[in-house]
């Protein structure tokens, strides 16, 4: 009696969790895609993270 209650509850919460996740998975994850794009573009263009705003310019210019 008690056991069947618990497992029914577990099944229901699993189902609701699962439906939430399916929703996440069907819709395009725009924020995650943007993050992934930024990472790849930084790599391809060899951009540095804008961490040191006060960094002095390099003494030797290559261009």
């Amino acid at each position: 009696m008690k056991h069947s209650h618990v497992s029914a509850l577990a099944a229901m919460s699993a189902a609701s969790l699962l439906s939430a996740c399916v929703t996440i998975n069907i819709y395009f994850p725009a924020a995650a895609a943007e993050k992934a794009a930024d990472k790849i573009i930084d790599e391809v263009w060899q951009l540095q993270k804008k961490a040191e705003p006060a960094a002095p310019p390099a003494s030797k210019e290559t261009k």
Binding site: V6, A11, A14, A36, D38, E43
Partner: protein, 135 residues
Amino acid sequence: MRSAFAFLLLAFSALVMAQGNLEVNTPAISQVKSAMTSRHAQLAPHYASGALGLARDATVQVRDANAIPLAQRGAVQSAVAAENSDRATLYREIAKANGNPAWEADIRATFAQRWIDKAQPGWWVQNAQGAWVKK
């Protein structure tokens, strides 16, 4: 039996939810990424000269072939073609790696915006109306 099934469901949903990031580490993606990284050295001066621009469809386009020295023109044009083919592969492979090939167009659109946003000042980019503007 039923609780075992419920547990399986729970475990599976937790797995799906753990993916807050897109999968971008596959051999195919790494390969195009490294090809694009080494090609960038060849293309960069031509972004700066205005010969090449970043198009709103997430490709590179030759805006002004005359701005490329004649001796390099053919090579740069082939590099642009190779770049666009690699970019198409990149968008397709990211969609595939995340189990949703249908996301390719969304991924391309995301990249289009981010390439343009990250372009350096002085580079040419295509605005939403299709006109070329200098950043």
